[in-house]
């Protein structure tokens, strides 16, 4: 039986109020999974816990069968995280940045150099490989960050709003790279507010609202769930989220009573 890429169970994290409230989520190996939800739904918080950037208050996270909370280093070895705001070093060149990331993940230098060349070429960064990142546009910075996330060939790639602020050509390139990785067996989990992207690229879509998974399935399954035979993902999503709001509101009303 194939191992799931990600298994989250009873995940809970509260700041001033619960951000993630008992999330259960399973993503299969080799799958392109899109995580949708309104602002503040808990998508980013959940994925940051998976990436080891936040500790949950309770719950479990397993990445390819390994416990991410007790065996963090092992899960980090096979995971990569791309935040919405690319965090790279302005004073390093893209080539140096990739060397640095490869060093952190312990990739063999020869292999790293070869992969670095391929990634820079593919992402059309090769002409700028020797220029420092400080003058790069948002799109170029995002591509450098993405190249860094791929240099160690992770089995699980987590991306938080990777297409925000990218022009059409850069967005297309990023999408192509991600689909290629899925084709080679990697698992991609991506949050996005661009529903067309989720509709076209993802095999399965999960919808989070108020820190919980409120709907999950293929686009067809979600349409059925929302009772929208031929509706677009946008219509389905708005229906699901609105329904969830109603539930919360009615619960609140009961509490208040």
């Amino acid at each position: 039986m194939p191992i799931n890429a990600l298994e989250i169970s009873g995940l809970y994290k509260a700041f001033d109020r619960p951000a993630v409230a008992g999330l259960d989520l399973t993503v299969r190996g080799g799958e392109f999974y899109a995580l949708l939800g309104p602002n503040g739904a808990g998508k980013t918080t959940s994925l940051r816990m998976v990436a080891g950037l936040l500790l949950p208050d309770r719950g479990t996270i397993h990445v390819f069968g390994k416990n991410a909370l007790t065996d963090g280093l092992e899960t980090k070895r096979i995971t990569s995280w791309v935040p919405d705001e690319p965090m790279i070093y302005d004073r390093l060149t893209p080539a140096e940045y990739l060397e640095f990331v490869a060093g952190l993940w312990g990739v063999d230098a020869k292999l790293a150099a070869q992969r670095s060349g391929e990634l820079l070429e593919w992402l059309k960064l090769a002409p700028h490989a020797g220029g420092r990142c400080e003058g790069f546009s948002k799109g170029m910075r995002q591509k450098v960050a993405l190249a860094g996330a791929l240099i160690h060939e992770p089995k699980l790639i987590i991306l938080d709003e990777p297409l925000t602020g990218l022009d059409a050509a850069s967005a297309r390139l990023v999408k192509d790279v991600l689909l290629d990785r899925v084709g080679r067996g990697a698992t991609v989990i991506m949050t996005t507010h661009i529903l067309e992207v989720a509709e076209r690229m993802a095999e399965r879509i999960g919808v989070i609202a108020n820190g919980k998974l409120v709907a999950e399935g293929t686009l067809g399954e979600l349409r059925q769930l929302a009772g929208k035979g031929e509706g677009s993902l946008e219509e389905v999503f708005l229906d699901i989220v609105a329904e969830d709001d109603t539930v919360v509101t009615s619960e609140n009303r009961k509490d208040a009573a």
Binding site: R48, A51, G52, L53, L54, L55, G72, L73, E74, K76, R77, T79, S80, W81, P83, M87, I88, Y89, D90, R91, L92, T93, E96, E99, F100, V101, A102, G103, L104, W105, G106, A109, A112, A113, H128, G130, G131, R132, E134, G135, F136, G148
Partner: protein, 516 residues
Amino acid sequence: MSSPASLTWFARHELSLSWRDFITMMTAGKPHRQMAVIIFILIASIVMHMFAWAVIGPSLPFTGSGATDQGVLIIVTGLIALSFSLMSSQAMESVTRVFYARSDLDLILSSPASTRRVFTVRIAAVAFSTTMLSLLLAAPAINVLAILDSPYWLGAYLLIFGLGIIATIFSLSLTIILFRTVGAKRTRLISQIVAALVGAVFIIGVQLAAIASIGSVSRLDFLVSDTVRSWAPGNDSLLWIPARAAMGEPGPLMLVVISAVLLFGWAIVAFSSGFSEKVLAAAGLSHGISKTRDRGPSFRQRGATATLRLKEWKLLLRDHWLISQTLMQVFYLIPPAFMLWQGFGTTSALSTVIAPVLVMASGQLAGGLAWLAISGEDAPQLVATAPVSRASIIRAKVEAVLSAVAVLVVPILAVMAWVDIAVALVCACCIMAASASATAIQLWFRSQARRSNFRRRQTSSRVATFAEAFSSIFWAGSAALWANGSLYALVLVSCALLVLATARGLRPNLTDEFLH
């Protein structure tokens, strides 16, 4: 109400922003601390007045003899020159920010508002902030002199106002000259270095002159020495105009103030037309991609710890502005180093002057570098998601900081060891302790920030700032006493450890993603 985009409208806008910035800086972004800050300012003001009273009181009276006493004129002129050099340094940094800080300039310059008005208000704001800082520092001394000696001393307030404007226009002219000669790309860096030099040059210059002529690092001893008296011109010289203005003589005072106002008007007329061009030239810099010719050592075939360490060094070495800011502390090592070179390097001079200065400078340097490596990490999420243990990350960053400090102090320690190996060993131990303490404090009080905020790092935590300063002071004192064979050194070591324990106890409960 002033009409939109008028001079007064811009001035109000600027004043309101500066006030909010000041309050945020003083309260570290926590508005509920405003009352505590007011109480602190009141107490600090009383303490400063008491201090001024204790220092100035025994030397009085000045007036009556002041106008004719050459010694008084020399001291007052020396203090004015010191203030002017510090004002010019501060003004130069602020003027540079006027041209280079993007903030709202894009918005304002894209509007149909008059560029000349924006320029006038911004330069006036620089002069105002420069003057206010000097007034804050000089006010206790002026007040004490006015009470104990003569109310004429209140004229010094006007003098500082005039000097603030002159220092601002001097710095503005220098910046414009740099723009024209070296271009927008290099002006920022060079003006930062010039600002540092202008600020330090008077103190260091007088110290060096003191060492060379009277064999002491005391600036005051030097100013009242016969050597300076013999160089000084007669009492009717124009050189004493600022000193006479400070002492309230109406003629010199009016001369300084009127000159300042005329200079300001001239600078606005002369420089405002090129303001937007220079701002646009400065803005264009961020859109260019700078090539790296010398890549230096490669990240290849290194362990994760070594990779992280190398990254810290590379980033620091490639940021010239940060280097100039970080090495500011090293400027103050020049006089003791000169003293060592001059042959005053007896064991006594080593232990009482050089050892504590070196320890203090190392502690401050380590604190600055540790802030850059820990809080100024540009990609904390990348480092945190790497399969590297927390201990390895901390080790790499601490090693990067301590080795950079070592590169700077080891040559001086080697010369010290040649004079007296025991003192050099004591100094090395205290340098390690001071550097490690400063690094630990930065680790406990870390908060994610941009590297460009380096100069304002102290505002993030008052506890960390004071703990870092006091631990360096105690370790420096320990070095002086230990090197002299005094057992009181143990008391200061205990104080340093107490500061560390207190800082550790007060450290915030960090919920950051970095270093889980």
